[in-house]
Amino acid sequence: MSFDDFLQAFFSLEILQQAWPILWAGLLNTLLLSVVVVPLGFLGGLILALLGTVHSRWVRWPLIAWVDLFRSLPPLVLLVFVYAGLPFAGLEVTALTAVAIGFFLNTGAYYGEILRAGIESVPRGQVEAARCTGLTAAQAMAHVVLPQAVRNVLPDLISNTLEVVKLTSIASVVALPELLFQARQAQSVTYNATPIMAAAVIYFILLWPVVRLLSRLENRQMAGRR
């Protein structure tokens, strides 16, 4: 195989041109998924973390069971279960809704554990000082604890977000044509690997700045601890 053949098989501009509309549609879906799924998962995590501050075993034990369950289930299984299972409960869901629910359950549990660790990292004296000035428990949480908690676990939150964006590729199993699925479609039509290479490059361009940001934050935290 000559070098030209290699280029033709993996980096063909011609193929890229042909495949671009398909890839573009996939990219839009991946972006849409990320924009829906990341805030939703974060919100789910926030709810779980706040419930985790309630000192009642009637809240605590169901919460532990919930988090354990959705962290143990493979996201793919969870997604198929939601998409194929809800109709049996009389609920027809669109692919996007199924993905949103599945990610809310799965990534919510992960974000929740991260935020819980963040909340626990804030010294008790912070809440005491806030309550002493008349702030309610909710105000102390919103203005004093959460801002510090999020900052303390920011690298973990970003790291988890990277994983979530990459994980959106499983949406194709419920027939939601995201970037990777579209790339494979294009590959099978053109008998050429260029679309897959293009998808890889697109993922890289999307995520690399976030990875850089993460590294900088981690370095700063290490420096802060010294």
Partner: protein, 246 residues
């Protein structure tokens, strides 16, 4: 002599099986500075924290400025605005500037506009001579400055009583002076203060009354000259002797 502004009667506190306060009575009159001393574990900090219900007393009654602090119907968040508290570890909010620290409760609790809250916060910082540090974050301030910001945070709400829980214990010796100076000025402005501290020099100079606690009880109380110069109880004598030797 004016009536008591803080009145604790028969206060008991258990932590699990540990009996930390064993029936404490304490009355503080308006404009009085009461110093609470005693060995660690004597319950002095717990008593202080019961006064604004940071700890829930197991038994007894506590009234501050006419408000029954232990009544379920009392709006505790409203009551706490009348009771300022300063902690050993400062507990400033590290993600806010000095000004932000002082202004937070003014905005969120007293509902002031941002401008009004910041103006009042600036005044409070001026009173502790830190107006020029308003834009600094706690991490950029010395321990002494942080504690003075914490005092400003409390007095900005114009409390009727101030509680100090070992305000200088976490400070390097050279930084203690500034904090004591701020407390002295607060005292001169007529603030009622309850201070848990080992600053005996300050107690001698500024306190109206010294309360000695040991084993969860008040052992002896009186004017500083009496407690330091001529303690009546054996345990007080032993404690005073110990700290004087340092």
């Amino acid at each position: 002599m004016s009536a008591a502004i803080v009145e604790a009667r028969g206060v008991h506190k258990y932590f699990g099986g540990l009996h930390v306060l064993k029936g404490v009575d304490l009355a503080v009159r308006e404009r009085e500075l009461v110093f609470v001393i005693g060995p660690s574990g004597s319950g002095k900090s717990t008593l202080l924290r019961c006064l604004n219900r940071l700890e829930e007393p197991s038994d007894g009654s506590i009234t501050v400025d006419g408000i029954d602090m232990l009544d379920r119907r009392t709006d505790i968040n409203k009551a706490r605005q009348r009771i300022g508290m300063v902690f050993q570890s400062f507990n400033l909010y590290p993600h806010m500037t000095a000004l932000g620290n002082v202004a937070l409760a003014l905005r969120r609790v007293q509902g002031m506009s941002r401008a009004a809250a910041e103006a009042r916060a600036r005044q409070a910082l001026e009173r502790v001579h830190l107006a020029d540090r308003a834009g600094h974050y706690p991490g950029q301030l010395s321990g002494g400055q942080q504690q003075r910001v914490a005092i400003a945070r409390a007095i900005a709400l114009e409390p009727r009583v101030m509680l100090f829980d070992e305000p200088t214990s976490a400070l390097d010796p050279e930084l203690v002076g500034g904090v004591l100076q701020a407390m002295r000025e607060l005292r001169e402005s007529g603030m009622t203060m309850v201070v848990v501290s080992h600053e005996m020099g300050f107690a001698r100079a500024a306190a109206d009354r010294v309360v000695f606690m040991d084993g969860g009880r008040i052992v002896e109380e009186g004017p500083p000259e009496a407690i330091f110069g001529n303690p009546q109880q054996e345990r007080t004598r032993a404690f005073i002797g110990q700290i004087e030797r340092h």
